[in-house]
Symmetry: C2
Subunit: 421 residues, 2 copies
């Protein structure tokens, strides 16, 4: 029996088991991993009643705790959502296996043949909040990429995550893989998070999934590398050479399709040459759609525009609100984005190649777009399959983090008794 009161010992044990399991996973075949994911999908579906019963307990706990309706909705599982989890597991199972892929291969005059080959990272820690489906999504992506994973779910989804986790373990065991390949921290004690963040000997990377509070905490406290973005302060710049129709389509989709995702637009910059034409049209359409537009002085003549305050620039609203400003040049737009952006996703609407090239070259966001909705900032929409999140760091994984981004590499060098002069 594990002693759930001695958190450091508990987590050290989990870390050591994960490390042992990672050595097995690193050489597991693509077929074995696929079989484990398919078996897990089957187990989730056949245990849907038990999962819903476990979820009931979490909902009671959440109601007692006074969770908001939005949080209660995120927490809730029904058959349709469980079908979604099953579909997700099968989709990851069907993806290409990244491990062992030869990333580059070349010969040297010395006689060496060199290959750079994709390898798993090792052990990944995933810390998430109330959505219980992350248990399956994150567990599946880590397994696909040959990594052992330590899952630390939110206290609200404790029972739901436990029930889903049991199905993942069933899948692992059916495929002959170690159960420790996917572990769930079996306590709500928050000290477990602090431990996980400092386990440099056993954990290779931490992925936080959740709001700014969680991500900020992880980025501040972690002693191991973190794949994450703190905020998605997404800008759209309507250039002097913007096409009116594209501008309208892109801005409306980027702001209103879904407001709560990290790729949703939060700030609109409009070149003054088109402020009275395209700009007016776009702002009116936003207002008509029920978006609160917080504009600078130049835009306040438009009926319904609220005056923007300093705190609206660089704000991640995640809501039906957008900040909007007229700029006198592309330089002013670039300067605004450099100052207030978060290096996540930024977009230019223009027909001018020169302006597009400057926007692409002079900004260093993980994703830069032209004439396309920023809501495409997503691993699936990039053709990477499922994603565990979007990262804005410059090291390693950047942009959407799918299975391939959860890997490292090594060099395999072959000679024939080859020696160096």
């Amino acid at each position: 029996m594990k002693d759930l009161d001695n958190i450091p010992a508990l987590m050290a044990d989990i870390g050591a088991r994960a490390k042992d399991a990672s050595a097995v996973l690193a050489i597991a075949s693509a077929d074995t991993k696929r079989a484990a994911l398919d078996a897990a999908a089957e187990a989730v579906w056949s245990n849907r009643k038990a999962i819903i019963a476990a979820n009931e307990k979490d909902l009671v706990f959440g109601r007692d705790k006074g969770l908001s309706d939005a949080m209660m909705d995120r927490l809730m599982l029904d058959e349709a959502r469980i079908q979604g989890i099953v579909d997700g597991l099968r989709a990851v199972a069907a993806q290409d296996d990244p491990v062992g892929e030869v990333l580059a291969e070349w010969d040297m005059e010395s006689g060496l043949h060199i290959r750079r080959v994709r390898t798993p990272l090792g052990v990944i820690g995933v810390i998430y909040e109330s959505r219980p489906n992350v248990t399956a999504d994150a567990g599946a992506l880590c397994l696909k990429s040959g990594n052992a994973v330590i899952l630390r779910g939110g206290s609200e989804s404790f029972h739901s995550s436990g029930a889903i986790h049991a199905c993942l373990v069933e899948g692992l065991e059916k495929a002959g893989l170690p159960a420790d390949a996917i572990q769930l921290v079996p306590t709500r004690d928050r000290a477990a998070v602090q431990e996980l963040l400092s386990m440099t000997d056993t954990v290779d990377v931490i992925v936080p999934r959740g709001g700014k509070g969680l991500v900020g905490l992880v980025q501040r406290e972690a002693r191991v590398p973190v794949f994450a973005h703190l905020e998605g302060i997404v800008h759209i710049y309507l250039d002097a050479d913007a096409d009116p129709e594209k501008a309208l389509k892109v801005v409306m989709n980027a702001k209103t399709r879904r407001t709560g995702i990290c790729g949703a637009a939060e700030c609109l910059l409009i070149h003054r040459d088109v402020a009275d034409t395209i700009g007016q049209g776009v702002v009116r359409a936003l207002l008509d759609a029920g978006v609160e537009v917080r504009g600078d002085e130049a835009l306040q003549s438009i009926n319904g525009v609220h005056p923007a305050t300093a705190s609206d620039w660089g704000c991640e609203f995640l809501d039906m609100i957008i900040a909007a400003r007229v700029v006198s040049s592309i330089d002013e737009a670039l300067a605004h984005i450099r100052r207030y952006g978060s290096d996540h996703t930024d977009c230019i609407v223009t027909e001018d190649e020169v302006a597009a090239n400057r926007f692409f070259a002079e900004l260093d966001s993980a994703i830069l777009m032209r004439n396309a909705s920023t809501q495409f900032a997503d691993g699936g929409e990039f053709g990477m399959g499922a994603e565990i999140g979007i990262a804005t760091g410059k090291m390693h994984a950047r942009g959407p983090v799918g299975a391939a981004q959860l890997t490292s590499f090594k060099y395999l060098v072959e000679g024939d008794g080859t020696v160096r002069r």
Copy 2:
């Protein structure tokens, strides 16, 4: 005038200048950067007398400080060594420019065209010891990869590094690039190192160049990512199916070509089936070449072999010493390397595909070799051009770190008014 006593303010100013310069460098053309490096090479050669005079001051300081002969030799510059620096600068100038390279490019059914494009990391801090040539080597590689660099040389090479740095700045200015692109910390105060390690707002990565003391300090204290290896505890395993001639050539070269580099072999593992044949021959050849062989019991019957002690396993001798041990199977060899290795470079000598595949799959060193000398662990020998070092971390740069490894990437996404469903 800079206040050299207020180290935090001094370093903050250097960091801010580097960040500003990095924005210019990121969009500098390949030709401009090449011109700066060629002009720097010219400046180093025409200022060779001034550099040698500055080096004279460092040699006096070093003699007074009682530096060892080896350290004095590392510090010393003459015309031949300055020619080496000039050649190095020209070689980096002639390398391909990594920035802007399209790493991948694809279309999505949604209509998006996606490119992943190489970008500079931003600002790189390089901390090194007595070799003054690192000033030019590291400065050149960072410039080539579009990064601003903050150089912090050893106190012993203070004047030499300063004289070389002045030539690099001359090159930058001739090419119209900001002088702040390559800065040298203008004080010997060690507090500057501590500052540099914690400048998370302005420094993107730290590269330590030097001995285990320096690298260990940097890895422990740095708050920014580090590209480094702590030790090169390089193993060679002579398999039961080793070719005798290849075994002899590879081991002799790997141990004796140069003993002080990180790719030098430090431990020899011999399969018991060939211990009395190939093993004996190799050990005798090592002894004949003047190598001190510290063997386990099975090898002590060979005349001249010293008994190994526990501390010899996992030891980086960097000298004419090798630890040697007989193992009963490849599994025992793998277990030994996992326990005592440093994930740098390890080698198997075998004609057996199965054994080679297991060695490649089951170890996770940055570089794994077969039938080739481990002294090939070098960016130049990998065809990457100059290297700033070898990294063993799993994040980002791994193995030899050349110009391409000093980069990150971003996604450039183009649509045509494309919106997400």
